[in-house]
Every structure is written in C-alpha cells, then in structure tokens.
Symmetry: C2
Subunit: 429 residues, 2 copies
C-alpha cells in the first residue's frame, strides 16, 4: 500500500483517480452474444453455457426437487445466520415502503403518488468460487416487499450442471419465482429479451463481471431498466486517533479480498495510525486464503495522511466511495459532512461486513464515483411511483385560469381549450 | 383517427406498438458533437451555435441585466399564473421530502438513510417556436427543494441571440444558478464534460429533440446520470358512458398538438362515446393554430372499442402510457387497477393540462413504455439516498456470529475476520 503524506489539494483528483478500462473490444463481443440470444433463444443459451461454463444443460429451470435437495445440504447454523440477516434486511427495507399521502395543493385539487411494483424483475447472481447468496437477500427481499409478481434469478451452473445449495436455499427462502441455470451476458440477454422458456423482465439487478456489466448497459437501450452502472467494489476508511488499527486493517482487507481490481483508500489525520494499521494489515494478510488477490488489489491502494479529519471527509466527498467507514469514537461529529457515499459505517464496531451481510442495509451500492449521482438499491428500486390527480369542479375553477394563461404563452391552444371547455360547461350549468 | 372494434387480445400488442426509429446515423453525428465539445470546449460550442442556431454568441452565460429586462417584459397575468403553478408544485413536491427514520433492526444495530442532494444538476429546456417555461418549474422546483447547490440551465438562443423572456423570468423565479445560451447535443456535452466557462454537472434533466435525447443517452456512459430515457409524448384516455365527449376530444387534441410523433390512444366501452368524441375532435381541430401537427399525429392514433372498462384498463397497463386519463364519473372504481402509467388523471375535470402546468404533479414522465419500469421526475430524482449504520458493542455481539457464518460460507475470510477481531477485543475486555 502506497503512503502519500500531506498532498496538496491540487493533487487530490490525480490521487483518487480510478483505473480506466478499455471497453471497445468487450462491447463487440457482448453485442454479438446479445444478438445471438435474441435471435436463437434457448439454443443460443445452451450453446454459450456449453462453451463458457463447460456443461451441457437440458433443463435451464431449476426443479423443485433440486431446491429440496439443496435445502437439505445447507447446515442449520448457516440457515439460522441467513434467517437472522433476512429478518434485519426485511425490517430496514420495510421502513422504506412509502405510504400514500393525498395532498390538496389548492381547494379541489388533490394530488398523490402511489408506489406500484415493477411487475417482472430479474436478478443476476454471479457464480465462481464462492456462492454469493447474500446478494439474493439484498435483491430478493426488497423485490418481494415491493410486490413484484415475477422474480427471476439467473446464476451460472458449475461444471456438473449444479447450483450451490446455499444459493438455492436462499432463493426459495426469499420467494424467488423462477431460478435459471444461466450465467454471463447470455443470462442478461435471456432476461431482457426472453426466449422460448424464459419470460422477459422489466428491470435487471445484480453484480457481475465486465461481460455482465456491459450486457446490462447495452440492453438498457432496448427498454429494460437496470439497477445502476457498476464498477469494481471500493472502500474508503477515515480514521482519527480513536480508531483501532487492527479493526481498520481488517476492514481494508475485507475490501481488498473482493477482487484484484478492488479499490481501497485509507485516510488519516495522524501518521502513527497509518503505520500501525499497515503493520496490522501485514500480519492479518498472512492468514488469508485470498492473500494473492488482496495483495494485487493493495498495489493500487493508497494510505493518505492529511492535516485534519475535515480534510479527510472532504477528500472522501470528492472520491464518492461505495463504502465509507468513519473509524472514530465520535463519528457523529463528521457524519453530517458526508455528501457523496453509497453506505456509511460509523464508529469502531460498524465494520463493512455488517452491512455486507446482516445489519439490514443493502449492499448493492453505487461504485466508480456513481455515489455522486446514484443511490444504492432499496425498495424504491423495485417500484414506479405513479402520480395521480383528481380535480373537482371547484378545483378546475381554482387553477383553470392559470393553466389557460400558461398554455397560451407556450402556444399550446389545445391545452388551453381543454380547460376553457370545462370552465364554460360549469358556467353554463 | 382509426377506429378498431373489439380486437382480440392476441391483437393487442400489435395495436399498441409504438413506431421504431432508426438511430444508427443519429448516433454517429451526435457522438462527433460530443467528442468535439469535450476536446474544444467553448470554441466548439460557439461553432455549433453558429451552425445550428445561426447566431454568433460571445457571452454564453445570460447576464443579470438580461434577466432584469426579461422580467419587465412578462405580463403580470402570466407572472401570477406562473406563481400559482409554482406554489402548487412546491406544495406537492415538498410532500415527497423524506424524513430520516432511524431503525433499530436488532438491539445495538441502528440503520437509517438520509437524502442528500446531488450537488450539481443541469436542466435542458428546448427552444423552438414556443418557450417551455413550465418545464423549468417542473425541474427547477424539485432541484431547489432537494437542496442542489448548482442548478445550470441550457436553452438555445433565437436568431438574435436572445432567450424568451418567460424562460428567463421563470428561471430566476425558481432560483436557477446559471443560465446558458446553448442548445442541442452541444448543450448536453457542455453540461456533461464542462468547458472553460461551464462547470460540469452530475445529472442532466429535461426533454429535447432526438439529438438531445441521444446525447443524454451517450454521456450516461461516461458517468453522468440522466433523468430517464425519452420518447415522443403520449396520452391514453379511457372513457365510459359518463365521460364528456367534448372534454375527451380536447384532451386527445392536447396531446396531438405536441408534435407530429405524439401518440394518442382512446379506449372506450361504447361505440357512441367514440363516435361523439371523434365528431367533437373534428370541430375543435378547426380552431387550432397547430392543426397541421395535430392532424399528422392523429394519423398514427387509434380509437379502440372494447367490451368492458376492465378490458380498457388492462390494455392500458400493457401499453404503459405516459399520461392516462380515466374519463368517468367514477374513476375510483378503476384507479386501483392501474399498474403501468406515468401520471393518472381521474374524472371529467382532471384534464392533462392541469398536470402539465399547475396542479402540482410533475410533467416530466416516462414515455415509450418506460412507465413499466421508471418513475416520473420527483424530489427523489435530485437526491441520493445514503444509508448509514452504527453498531454498538451489543450490536456487534448480536449480529457478529451470523456475519462470521455467512462470510465463511461465501469464502470471504477477511470479511469474517473483521468481525472476529472485534468480538475478541470485546471478550478480552
């Protein structure tokens, strides 16, 4: 981890620059997969699964029997842990449900908005070495709370054509309506366009590698919505003298072990904290199974010494981290200054893994600086907020003349006439 | 307007198909404008303004003096109308501000989310024959309520280099911080990338022609957010026997006069209503200054007779209209069945122009079927909802073991260790 001491403000943008990726070649490859699936449906899906996942899948849909078998294979300790997490995530996300408030803006003019579930949503859960069942909780729970009717889940099969039991257990626990053994860009295509056996969805959620991310970006142009643009995961830790170096080290490593492209930034207002944290990281690293990955990620990571904690928070706001940890015994002094971040962890006991798994907040968050202009996933992500209005006779009398005036000034005379006719009918009565 | 009687359900998708636009050529042209502005800044902006708006603009920023002069030119009647609309829009949008609710998901685990304004937003207001000052109300008011620090507005100058007085008056009224005389794709580029004199923004809002729309779609890929994908404006009116044909006709024409590509659908459960409405349209059309445009739009429009009002609402849900008018004396019988719509107008006195201008709801709404998966603009569009969490010692004790279990199952041992170290420190105390 590189240490940078007291950089000038002019250097900040360069210090926090995220690596750029060349995407031209990627786009071409992903486009051809999307086109292929659009044209050839299930046949194309099976072909890509053979080619990329190296397994022949006849039945794309996971059967009841497979789910039952999987459930039997998950340990009761893990089941209890997942249920505890589910409970907390449900509690927090339930608080996001918006109740309908009718607002009378003027006498006789009532306006309100109503959250209506997006009917069909698709969740993508990556495969690979570890089964990311926690992401099923983070996407499936708000989908069900919102009231989505169809919740489709795509995840790649292993070389034996199976899905990890923890994935299947969690999927049935949160009420996923259909689980499909499909991975990569072809899964995104299947959910966006539909095939002979797969119904298309209205919005696609979930993390994935660069192919999945590119595919989500591309299908967006044909009418499917996506949760948010994605990039490598990141954490920024701000620590003052009251932070605990071992804890901070473990949080930085949590992020570093995610992937070789993970972004880790550590800001502190005192050199001793940086030195002790880096020492703790070195010793903790030795024990980690994913040490190689973490080391690779740390090559691009930086510890930055700044004059004050205020500077640290300001630099963090410029960076706009996905995860921001304020490691301090008095985080409340600083939390109101946070302007750009996906999710904020306050104090020495709020480790990022709490939010990753079980505290209740969502872990699907904006990366790559998108915390400036996007929110993380919430119940809001699974609904449309439809506005309604109802005017009484009194209402149209109250606002009609203003509408007529404005429509006339915008030279939209049919708009004006819609009011004029109504006012006239009322006056004729 | 074509009349279709009692179509079979299998025909529905074809009936409501929206026209597709060929966009390949468009994309190339817009990309080159974006690249040019990115590279050449103000110089490129001035060059495109000369070429496309046919005027030489030295000072891109509108001066205080120009705003003062404009304010003097707007009639006091129009000012009052705009102020009434502003008041109602403020009232309704204020009700959308979310208060912070701290949720204790388990003892010692507190989670909440906080709405934080997107710092810098850009609004695009089209030029052309009519000054769309109403859109400034619809975008500027929620931006200010959300607390956005910089609100930039771009709108094309006329051939004398001026901006319509009603635009300038409304912009200063709602508190726009910077008004720029720039139109088209070059305005989107200026707001996305910034130039020597223009600060870049984090999110771009507002309607526009196909160049503006394409430019918004493209800059999205370089980190700028946009309000929503756009398409031609549309209305779907559902009428039962209690509707008033003259009113319905005026609402259908309001939409038709918007543009040649406007979409107008009229669904009714009785033939007499269709016949009378079409008659009323024919006579109202004669009086309209924008008759030619409306006639052109009506060529693609359809009146569809269906068996029941339930069928009408179901077809509307499949179409997912931007505006849905339920023209009936008993709209409350049907409003709960609405699943996909941008904004809904209930009863015989709730004309679309009420929501377009002054009732309080927003008129920036999802078109082109996006009402299936997008909401209209609201205060939400101008904020990020940042989640926060704080765990006490008790809190980490309560959820720590579950996190350890889950992290282990996902093979993320640094995540597990972040908890283990903390629990150990507490037990050692």
């Amino acid at each position: 981890m590189n240490i940078i001491r007291n950089p000038k403000r002019a250097q900040w943008p360069e210090l926090i620059e995220r690596p750029a990726f060349e995407k031209r070649a990627l786009e071409k490859g992903v486009k051809s997969i999307l086109e292929d699936v659009k044209r050839n449906g299930d046949g194309a899906i099976r072909r890509y699964t053979r080619l990329l996942d190296q397994v022949e899948i006849n039945e794309l849909q996971v059967s009841e029997k497979e789910i039952e078998n999987a459930t039997a294979k998950v340990s009761s300790e893990l089941k209890s842990a997942i249920k505890l997490a589910k409970q907390n995530i449900e509690t927090f996300h339930t608080s996001q449900l918006e109740s309908m408030k009718v607002v009378e803006t003027m006498e006789g003019v009532s306006c309100w908005r109503k959250s209506v579930a997006i009917e069909r949503v698709g969740l993508y859960i990556p495969g690979g070495s570890a089964p990311l069942f926690s992401t099923i909780l983070m996407l499936g729970i708000p989908a069900k709370l919102a009231g989505c009717k169809e919740v489709t889940l795509c995840t790649p099969p292993d070389k034996n054509g199976n899905i990890n039991p923890a994935i299947l257990y969690t999927a049935q626990l949160v009420g996923i309506t259909s689980i499909l053994k499909i991975g990569g860009a072809q899964a995104v295509a299947a959910m966006a366009y539909g095939t002979e056996t797969i119904s298309p969805v209205d919005k696609i959620f979930g993390p994935g590698n660069q192919y999945v991310t590119k595919a989500k970006q591309l299908v967006q142009q044909s009418g499917v919505a996506i949760d948010m643009p994605a990039g490598p995961s990141e954490v920024l830790v701000v620590a003052d003298k009251s932070a605990v170096p071992e804890f901070v080290a473990s949080d930085l490593l949590s992020q570093a072990e995610h992937g070789r492209d993970s972004q880790v930034l550590f800001l502190a207002d005192n050199e001793a904290m940086i030195r002790k944290t880096l020492e703790a990281m070195r010793s903790q690293l030795e024990e980690l199974p994913r040490k190689e990955i973490a080391l690779e990620a740390l090559k691009n990571s930086k510890a930055i010494l700044l004059g004050t904690l205020k500077d640290c928070i300001e630099l963090s706001n410029v960076y706009a981290p996905e995860h921001l940890i304020i490691a301090s015994e008095q985080p409340e002094l600083w939390m109101d200054q946070v302007e750009n971040a996906g999710s904020v962890f306050l104090g020495n006991y709020s480790c990022e893994s709490a939010g990753d798994y079980a505290s209740g907040t969502n872990h699907t968050l904006p990366t790559n600086g998108f915390a400036r202009n996007y929110s993380g996933v919430s119940v809001d992500s699974f609904v449309k907020k439809i506005t309604f209005q109802q005017l009484t006779e009194k209402g149209i009398r109250n606002i009609g003349p203003a509408i007529e005036k404005m429509a006339e000034a915008e030279e939209l005379f049919a708009h004006k006439n819609a009011v004029t006719l109504r006012l006239k009918a009322l006056n004729d009565d």
